[in-house]
């Protein structure tokens, strides 16, 4: 079966900067793929590239195929027929993506009428169905509310309703639950999961919350400084991370379930912060990597298939890190 989306060697540059340096991955129909990584690692730019929303001065290379169709060189006009209809998107702050002077209903109707020849009455009816679908209580009344009349969680539901209005095959959610509280976040994630199962829609979930990934994603891809550095099924990746960056992230997260407490000792740190330079010769993680050695500075380590479905971009995998468990790392 061909994947729904195939991204090959996708890169984005601005002037002399190269924030996305060539990432390749597939998205299977109906799956939930999580992308995690530091801010500035290129997650959002990759996502924007997938829906043709990169700023016009961005340089992009590589290819993106959706259901076999090459999207690399589409015009803005062509993108408009794909965005919303075949690929939907929701962002972190619904307030900035919703129009404050239009009611929720008007905004959904607008989206429906861009893509489908439907009259206002049926569009409004469909909009109420959509609000219902995303579990907004009293949808028939809420449809005439303005965004500011809704809570953060409700606004994010409205964004999801707009995102799925035209039954896209792929929905991209960029930090869509980050600004929400845990109880509301759990509701939204459950909603996304139900929707993708019911609508057979793939979801790319961009997040920095490893718990969310472990709990909801089918597959996870870890990015660092514009590259994919690890990929696999969530459980194996988190139980047995390969790449030193992934290992560091897990070790640096406080672990409530084992009762980790500051009086017992400090958290493991990843020293420094992300540095991404155009003229790097070696591994971008090298300045922060506890395992770095001279050879790491010679060439950018390629991402390699390590075992079934597991990829990592570090030459020390798996010979050095093959059998170290996460528990051993955090001393639990």
């Amino acid at each position: 079966m061909t994947p729904l989306m195939e991204v090959h060697d996708f890169a984005v540059g601005f002037g002399s900067a190269q924030p996305v340096k060539g990432v390749s991955f597939d998205v299977t129909a109906g799956e939930m793929l999580a992308i995690v990584g530091e801010s500035g690692s290129g997650k959002s730019l990759t996502a924007l590239g997938l829906i043709g929303l990169l700023p016009s001065h961005a340089r992009k290379t590589g290819s993106i195929r959706l259901a076999g169709r090459d999207l690399s060189d589409l015009s803005e006009r062509q993108w408009r027929s794909i965005r919303g209809r075949e690929i939907g998107m929701i962002f972190q702050e619904p307030m900035t993506s919703l129009n404050p002077v239009l009611t929720v209903g008007e905004q959904i109707v607008e989206v429906l009428r861009i893509h489908d020849k439907i009259d206002r009455r049926s569009a409004r009816k469909r909009a109420i169905e959509l609000l219902d679908l995303v579990n907004i209580p009293e949808a028939g009344r809420r449809i005439d509310d303005y965004p500011h009349q809704l809570s953060g969680g409700m606004r994010q539901r409205v964004m999801i309703a707009i995102g799925v209005a035209c039954n896209p095959k792929l929905l991209i959610a960029d930090e869509a639950t980050t600004a929400l509280d845990v109880t509301i976040q759990a509701q939204i994630l459950q909603l996304l999961d139900n929707l993708r199962l019911n609508l057979n829609m793939a979801v790319i979930l961009i997040t920095h919350d490893l718990g969310i990934v472990a709990q909801w994603a089918d597959r996870v891809m870890v990015m660092y400084a514009g590259r994919k550095v690890e990929e696999g099924l969530p459980q194996p990746v988190f139980e047995h991370p390969y790449h030193p960056y992934t290992r560091g992230l897990l070790a640096a997260s406080p672990r409530a379930e084992v009762g980790q407490h500051y009086r017992d000792g400090p958290l493991l740190e990843i020293p420094g912060s992300i540095v991404s330079s155009l003229h790097e010769k070696g591994c971008a993680f090298r300045p922060r990597c506890p395992d770095a050695r001279a050879s790491c500075g010679q060439a950018v380590p390629p991402i390699k298939l390590i075992s079934d479905g597991r990829y990592a971009a570090c030459p020390l995998v798996p010979s050095q890190f093959g059998r170290v468990s996460h528990d051993a790392l955090v001393g639990a």
Binding site: T183, F238, H261
Partner: protein, 311 residues
């Protein structure tokens, strides 16, 4: 020894047609050397409570006592002295750092305001705190925008600690940071706590961080503290239905795709529900809950809960 105690504190904001009781009849104590976490959904009143303690916003009623002195009765001059001993660290240090001042000027300002040292002494103090919070020596003559989020938070911490306060209110200090940076900042806060014998009130909505970082937890819902317990006890036996829902909502790698623990939204603080404020979302709610606000009951050592049916 009790460092700070708060009795029946309320803070209201007038908003449009009505008022919002952001903090509603809250009582709490912070012991010397303790880290107390304040958790709850956004908008539940955590930051308002933090600011009311040092009268950055004026409480409407109630009493705050810091080391035996009544903060609520302090004159402007006394308040200035108090703000040397209680400091605040914010989520977004950038918003609170003057972009046109160098880090050196930012850190020197509080020393000047409080008349500490001469030029030479101030330079020494600034250089020492910068080193302690892990800012490289050349940072002092740079501007806030030249720093990453983690480094900016180090500047915010240096500024808060330069006067050697006794209590620091940390308002979501790591929420905006990447995971790899979060651990650095949490470790720094622990190190500084030990070095300067600080006590913290740590406002956060991240329960994994709270589990690690605090000695005691206050759970807040719509302006009220609904449960207070030592950290380990709260995780071992959460008693309030809201606390249970919060803990159950934390994404947990071991629980694939479990259902959201509670439905519904945080009700509008303009018009909070009658009786127990959690009744609109509580799976155990009864008529009693809708009619009558629950009192605090003791649930174990240092563990109190406001729920008619806590068990």
């Amino acid at each position: 020894m009790t460092l700070l105690s708060v009795h029946n504190l309320s803070t209201q904001y007038s908003a449009g047609r009505g008022t919002v009781r952001a903090v509603d009849d809250v009582s709490l104590e912070i012991e010397t050397g303790e880290t107390v976490a304040l958790v709850g959904e956004s908008g539940c009143g955590k930051s308002s409570l933090g600011k009311s303690l040092m009268r950055l916003v004026e409480p409407t009623s109630g009493q705050v006592t810091f080391k035996g002195s009544d903060v609520t009765a302090m004159s402007a001059r006394e308040l200035r002295g108090l703000r040397q001993r209680i400091q605040m660290i914010f989520q977004d240090p950038f918003a609170s750092l003057n972009p046109r001042q160098t880090v050196r000027a930012i850190l020197t300002a509080p020393l000047k305001v409080h008349g500490i040292g001469d030029g030479k002494r101030r330079r020494e103090i600034v250089e020492k705190i910068a080193e302690q919070v892990g800012l490289p020596p050349d940072s002092l003559d740079r501007y806030p925008h030249e720093f990453s989020g983690g480094q900016r938070q180090r500047i915010g911490i240096a500024r808060a600690l330069i006067l050697e306060p006794e209590l620091v209110v940390c308002d979501e200090p790591v929420s905006a940071l990447d995971l790899s940076i979060q651990a650095q900042i949490l470790n720094l806060l622990v190190e500084m706590k030990q070095r300067l014998s600080l006590s913290y009130l740590f406002v956060s909505h991240d329960l994994s961080v709270v589990r690690y970082f605090s000695d005691r937890v206050l759970v807040m819902y719509l302006g009220k503290i609904v449960e207070s317990a030592p950290t380990a006890a709260l995780w071992a036996s959460p008693a309030h239905p809201y606390t249970r829902a919060l803990l159950a909502a934390v994404p947990d790698p071991a629980k694939r795709k479990h259902a959201a623990p509670i439905s519904g939204d945080l009700p509008s603080p303009h018009n909070p529900p009658s009786g127990c404020r959690f009744h609109t979302r509580c799976p155990l709610a009864t008529d009693l809950c809708r009619a009558e606000a629950p009192r605090y009951r003791s649930f174990g050592e240092n563990h109190t809960v406001a729920c008619h049916y806590a068990q």
